[in-house]
């Protein structure tokens, strides 16, 4: 029993199968991209982020693309950080202190003491904010999620995932009928 029958399959057939498979996968992926709900009109959001060992409240911040985001910070125990992926933003949050230290990781050395961090959420997708000031044992795992709609990553990856299944299924079934 030579189960895979790869030797018997012609190069042409293989190419056809690969094309079919990729077409289905990318088709479903595109479908996911298209079906992702569009972001509503931008608005202003003021959010107070409370940091504690080892998490943030809110643990997930959901905004829409174009929103003006104003963040205030509170630390409930020790000095924490707020490093937002993809937004070049790092904040150090000393506890029991009215202001925070804000810096751009891309410009090391520059530091600003401010009460509130404001920026426009112009990048869509899923980003994580992480603690950047060693705050205890689980510090490296202290994080929260910043999700900017439309987050196309999820529908696209779900489309691709099921595309792999459907595409594979079609390749197998159609080959049977072909013979």
């Amino acid at each position: 029993m030579n189960p895979v029958e790869k030797g018997g399959r012609s190069g042409h057939g293989r190419l056809w199968n690969a094309a079919l498979f990729l077409a289905v996968v990318s088709g479903l992926g595109t479908l996911g991209f298209v079906l992702a709900p569009a972001a509503p009109a931008p608005k202003e959001r003021s959010i107070t982020v409370r940091a504690h060992r080892y998490g943030y409240d809110p643990k997930i911040i959901r905004v829409n693309r174009g929103d003006r985001v104003r963040l205030r910070f509170v630390s409930e125990d020790v000095t924490h950080g707020f490093y937002l992926e993809g937004y070049d933003l790092d904040v150090s949050i000393p506890p029991m202190h009215p202001s925070v230290e804000w810096r751009k990781p891309s410009q090391p050395g520059k530091l600003k003491v401010i009460d509130e961090v404001a920026f426009t959420a112009d990048r869509e997708g899923k980003f994580r904010y992480r603690c950047s000031m060693t705050c205890g044992f689980l510090h490296p795992f202290m994080l929260g999620e910043f999700i900017v709609s439309p987050n196309r990553l999820l529908p696209v990856s779900l489309g691709l995932t099921w595309g792999v299944l459907v595409g594979g299924f079609l390749v197998v079934v159609l080959k049977g009928t072909h013979k």
Partner: protein, 311 residues
């Protein structure tokens, strides 16, 4: 033959390698530490769980003992001392303004080095000025500077952060009792003195010492003990004092109310102490913001407790 030689080489390499791996780091470290023989090296490690700067070695093995003694380094006039500051857990700030040291932020796992060459004798306070946990407010001590060969001056023992271990008040405690407990447990007394008597010096602060709080009743225009009792009763009953404007329980209630609100605001938002010498160092002790740490009722409890105090 060559196998036998290889075997001998391997055995020697193993023994020498193991010995070197174990001992070389220590050799390197001691050479690194004592590279200048005439300099005194002072290792201080900030430990958040104990609320101390300690001279003891803090490492992976003993960190769990959690009872490091607070440091009381002794320096000599005219001799350079190299401070090596570490943190064993979270961010601390070391500050000894009277000695002209700091404030230096100490990040966990990094070593901050600086040298001090004290010119005069004395006992100098050091602090941690970044809130590093609830033991933080006791995280201070003294640096003694003496002449070479002089007997060590015995001073007040450095505080340690152990006070927060107090048991919580009984469930049926009244407002004043809870306030008293909070005043202690939250570390207020470390700056404002036991029973709010004040007297804790704050370097380069415009008033010299941290304000006493045992005369709060008078500041709030409650000159009569009876008035204090009435107000505390009103607070205890959970009534919003603002709602009492129509039927004031005490004389000059409006003035009291304005003062009361500003005290609450001060507790909530904290304040930065003014400098006596505008070019001098930042005073080490500042009023922290309590709005995230104390609830409205708790702030009232502390105020109620302070109102009952007498100078």
């Amino acid at each position: 033959m060559s196998q036998k030689m290889a075997e001998i080489v391997a055995v020697f390499a193993t023994l020498i390698g193991i010995g070197a791996t174990i001992f070389l780091p220590f050799v390197y470290q001691s050479r690194h530490l004592f590279r200048d023989s005439d300099i005194q090296v002072i290792n201080l490690t900030g430990v958040n769980s104990a609320g101390t700067w300690t001279e003891e070695e803090v490492n992976g093995w003993n960190y769990w003992r959690r009872d490091f003694a607070a440091a009381r380094p002794v320096l000599n006039v005219g001799r350079t001392a190299r401070f090596r500051l570490k943190s064993a857990d979270v961010i601390h700030t070391f500050y000894a303004p009277a000695l002209g040291v700091g404030p230096v932020q100490v990040y966990p796992g990094h070593v901050v080095e600086f040298e001090v060459r004290p010119a005069q004798r004395g006992v100098f306070q050091y602090y941690c000025t970044t809130v590093c946990g609830m033991p933080h407010f006791g995280m201070r001590g003294e640096i003694v500077v003496q002449r070479e060969g002089e007997a060590v001056t015995t001073g007040s023992l450095p505080t340690s952060g152990k006070y927060w271990l107090e048991p919580p008040p009984p469930a049926n405690a009244n407002l004043v009792e809870r306030g008293q407990w909070l005043f202690h447990q939250k570390g207020c007394f470390t700056c404002h003195g036991p029973e709010g008597r004040g007297g804790v010096s704050n370097w380069n602060y415009v008033k010299g010492t941290v304000p006493a709080l045992n005369a709060l009743a008078e500041r709030l225009m409650l000159f009569d003990r009876e008035d204090v009792k009435v107000i505390v009763e009103q607070m205890e009953s959970g009534k919003n004092l603002n709602s009492l404007v129509a039927s004031p329980p005490v004389a000059r209630f409006n003035v009291f109310l304005a003062q009361y609100r500003s005290v609450r605001d001060l507790i909530r938002k904290g304040s930065t102490p003014g400098k006596k010498d505008p070019h001098g160092p930042v005073p080490p002790l500042e009023m922290p913001t309590w709005d995230q740490r104390l609830s409205e009722v708790e702030i009232d409890a502390v105020i109620a407790y302070l109102l009952t105090l007498q100078p």
